[in-house]
Symmetry: C2
Subunit: 246 residues, 2 copies
């Protein structure tokens, strides 16, 4: 949305998906995509994505700004690398749990675990929501998460597009919730203060928002938005699956 030059989607894809063939001539590169991405993540974790600039990243590595451009076409690609590096490879969860009559079906447990895992990742890197706005090229690890969700829905009777949509639904919810619940950033008020401010506004204009005012009085730090939405989504999927198979 900003740069007129730099790299397009193709460049980003090449960077994220390798194969990184190394030239033989010339001096050995002192840096690496891995180190650069890690430096960026370190800054973003500490001060938010807004604090990540070529200068800062280069400075953290004790190099000059322009040297980074030997590795990365532009800032957008650097952020893409950071995102990919910040997402841990999803570990296999509950490989073969026999579904008794009491425990939920396997697909549900798997999806639940995958959603929690994604939420953990987003929680560990609060800038991830900022960095993943808009349509963009997904990296191998991001696609790996998607793969596991789609695979978990194998044998449920859902069509291919439906499984994809389910994954998107799940990821969107996790993203949306962790984005709202992220801790206070640098120079930001903590979330509680914001919440109090909003609550005050609602009470002040209770005539315009009667339902909201009523709903917020009963609020005592439930903090269950992630689980609530997750269970609703899984219930909805279960309903569809039941309709399909029966």
């Amino acid at each position: 949305m900003s740069s007129t030059s730099g790299g397009g989607a193709g460049d980003t894809a090449r960077l994220l998906w390798g194969p990184h063939q190394k030239p033989t001539r010339g001096p050995k590169p002192a840096l690496s995509l891995e180190r650069i991405a890690r430096a960026g993540i370190e800054i973003a974790d500490a001060e938010g994505l807004g604090a990540v600039s070529m200068q800062r990243v280069a400075g953290l590595l004790d190099y000059t700004k322009m040297s980074l451009y030997r590795y990365v076409p532009g800032k957008a690609e650097l952020v893409a690398l950071m995102v990919e590096a910040a997402i841990d490879e999803p570990a296999r969860v509950t490989p073969a749990t026999p579904a008794t009559e009491e425990s939920p079906p396997a697909w549900r447990m798997e999806l639940h675990a995958l959603a929690r895992q994604l939420a953990d990742t987003f929680g560990a890197h609060p800038w991830l929501p900022d960095a993943t706005v808009g349509p963009r090229v997904l990296g191998p690890k991001e696609l790996g998460w998607l793969e596991r969700v789609v695979a978990a829905l194998d044998g449920t009777g859902l069509t291919g597009p439906e499984r994809m949509d389910s994954a998107v639904l799940l990821a969107g919810h996790v993203r949306s919730i962790t984005e709202q619940a992220r801790a206070a950033g640098p120079g930001r008020q903590p979330e509680s203060e914001l919440l109090a401010l909003l609550g005050g506004l609602v009470q002040e204009h209770a005539d315009r928002f009667p339902a909201l005012a009523a709903a917020m009085t009963a609020q005592d730090g439930h903090d269950q938005a992630l689980e609530f939405g997750l269970e609703r989504i899984l219930d909805g999927l279960a309903a569809l699956i039941a309709r399909r198979s029966g």
Copy 2:
């Protein structure tokens, strides 16, 4: 995430919620918050949020950049005003439709309509997802949408927090979907190209993403992600409501 000064959440709240008491002395202001916000929206609609700068907005109004600071403490507040101005006041939908045995219950029809309306708004202003990242102060119109959702869930047996969580779940889904589906921006490849690129990557690494590869072959432009997720969420809510009342 960027500015060290400017206005905090309190300033933003004051700007969004009035009361805008006007001083009597001095020259009449030539501009207004309304005009400034509209100018910003015009630029953002045409070229994306990244093209919105104080210079551009002021230039569009034939004023200098610094004059805007007489009205707005900083850019963050300007964006907040843009968001608030871009969200149309939700019109009352289906005020009293008697729920027959065939048509869904009133709350479901209302939530469905509210979600569609939100999706329309996001579709009309593709930069809204960018502008609404992170915890922030909601404006009256945003809160109005929330109010309608919570009000629609009156009498369903859901608790206050649960109704709030439902609204957040709904809004998050709409946001997530329209963000991915937004049309090509300036200098961006159209979405289809991105999709083709991703599809190519998946096929190329089909060994690592077997389920994805299988799911994507059956893909024939379904474009139903919004409706799919919406129905799943509503089904999930229906299940919870049924459990509560029965």
